[in-house]
Amino acid sequence: MGLRIGMKRPVGDVTGTADPDAGSAGGDAVAAALWRDAPLGVLELDLHGRCRGVNPAWSGLTGMPADRCTGDGWMRCVHPDDRALARSAVAAAAGGGHAGPVPLRLVLRTGGTRWAELTARPAGDPPAAPAAVLAMLVDVTGRVRREAELAAIAEHSPDAVLRLDANRRIVFANAAQARLAGFPPSAHAGRTVWELGLPEDLVVVLDAALGRALRTGVGEDLEFPVPVGSDSRWLHARVVPEADGEGAVRHVLLVSRDVTERREAEDALRARDAMQSALVRGVSHEFRAPLAAISAAAGALERVPEAERRELLHAVTEETARLERLVANLLDLSRLEGGALVPRLDWCAVDDLVTGARRASGLAFGPGELVVALDAEHPLVQADQVLTERILSNLLRNAVIHGAPPVRVTSRAGDGVVELAVEDAGAGLPRELRSTAFAPFVQGEGRPGIGVGLALSRGLAEAQGGTLVATPNPGGGARFVLSLPLVPVPEVPE
């Protein structure tokens, strides 16, 4: 390991940080100590790339004794595929330039392979006309292996993984990230999060989080919507500071997962919860009034004179009927929602449906209070008679309770449907209720009624392939139209 030149002059970068005037005996002693003891493998080459000597650390790293490294001998410890890289780095330094660090593989005498970074520097004064080249090797096997492992894991992760350096530039992107961004992993390299096509306000938040993670070493979780094509997806992103062996944070990982389905499920669950509590509130409210009336009447029965009992009993019967209708509607609603209510479609006479609905409604219409005008050309429809009577009965009750007589029931065929319209001569459906009237328990301000009637009726209509809508009524009152598919009636033999 007799090395002269390097020892006699300040040696390039190895001691370059020292005072330039320190090219003294003291400087030589430091350089000698470094040559002997630094964990850095150092190789001194002439300007043709022939080795003049190696330090002990080089031999330790490569397993090759100093005397076998001379000339071109040192090249034998570089992996054949990486020799050109090593040569060009040395040549660059021989020309006065700085080369590396260049990653390359070392072939050990024992047969293994290690990763090292080679840095080549011109040595001597002036650097522009160097007298020699110093090539330095640092063992980075551990780091390269870790990175390879990380890349292998990250590559196949279903989560999108981005690895960014201290300048918040992307050094790695996996396949899932490429799918998410819409361009290949290689196209990510060197970009910042500003160059991923994300909305600006989102990038501000994301970039700030990345900066904080690098600065403070503390990660965070973010959730945000991103446009993907014409769609919008929800992402959950975890910002993970990546500490190196010394505990310094030089990289940060951005791991994102598509949580759209989870969010949608949560939203649906929330909406369902809200609807269910509205339902429970509404049901409780609806039950309370008739129960209170029955309880009051029953309590009074023992105390009032005979003559007044009949009236109280009538109240009990009326309120009981109201409870029964409510329970029937609720049961149907739950069977409908649970898919347990299967319509039995058969031929029904429209006039039968109206008659049945009028009787089922329990309403007594005075003369002229109910006008029925049906299309004689289309007397039959395909429907579930019981369900359709229930729809019409609900509509009739609505018309009487919330509207005013006369109530008109008409039928009309056309456009592939038979329409059955129920309209009244009241004030009409308030504008603010037009879109919400079909939700369970929505009612007009201060109005009585069965809060599930319209919701159930629409469900029953749709279960039979029909529709139920509120339409504007030129006559002023509320107007509900039940449409059922128009099916040609097969011939009836004489």
Binding site: R344, D352, T355, P379
Partner: protein, 230 residues
């Protein structure tokens, strides 16, 4: 009808319903026996030989349908089944199992009493034994195959007559769609419900005072038709 009070067997597992119904039937002059299970019902029917059975289809130890079938093995006692809200399939099954009529829960007491009266009256006269059936000014003479309304003859096509006659022979009872179609058109027509819709509209036009509000030729939604005499 004079003579000893008629016996009604009420089968229901709800004590309050049993009590309420018994009170109403007692007040109407019937003698009431209660049963809470299928087993009790069959035992009571054998021991007490009731004149009419009011049978809830939902029983704690089995289906009322089975009770109905078991009863029909040895007795023609009229059976009125009580079915849950809009269980049309159950009603049809009960009629097929030999039930005479049904009411839907919840029912008004007055309605049930009317049904009990109707089936006990019918039971007193064997089906089809009466040559003439009258309702709302209409007389159907089953022996002469003639129909008059307010004394004047009504012209019916053979099919219209067959349909009316089937209803008249079982006046007061619900006849299911398939049974009516079989009676008027023969086997193989059981699913042609639209025939019935068209023909019943014609019969109503010829026989009802107000065809748009029929009193006698009554539609039983999802099940069939009934000729209501009064």
């Amino acid at each position: 009808m004079n003579g000893p009070p008629q016996r009604v067997l009420v089968v229901d597992d709800e004590p309050h319903i049993l009590r309420g119904l018994s009170a109403s039937l007692n007040a109407a002059g019937y003698h009431v026996t209660g049963a809470a299970t299928a087993q009790e019902a069959l035992r009571a029917a054998a021991l007490r030989t009731p004149d009419v059975v009011v049978l809830d289809l939902r029983l704690p130890d089995g289906s009322g349908l089975d009770v109905c079938r078991r009863l029909r093995e040895w007795t023609q006692v009229p059976v009125i089944v009580v079915s849950a809200h809009d269980a049309e399939e159950d009603k049809i099954a009960a009629l097929d199992a030999g039930a005479d009529d049904y009411v839907t829960k919840p029912y008004a007491t007055g309605e049930l009493l009317a049904r009990v009266r109707a089936v006990t009256r019918r039971a007193a006269t064997a089906p089809g034994s009466q040559p003439q059936v009258s309702f709302g000014g209409v007389v159907v003479d089953l022996a002469l195959r003639s129909v008059t309304r307010d004394g004047a003859p009504v012209r019916l096509t053979p099919r219209e007559y067959d349909l009316l006659a089937e209803l008249a022979r079982h006046a007061g009872r619900v006849i299911t769609h398939p049974a009516l179609l079989r009676a008027a058109w023969g086997p193989g027509y059981e699913r042609e419900t639209h025939y019935l819709r068209v023909y019943m509209a014609r019969l109503r036009g010829k026989l009802e005072a107000d065809a748009s509000d029929p009193r006698h030729l009554v539609t039983e939604a999802g099940v069939g038709y009934r000729l209501q005499l009064d």
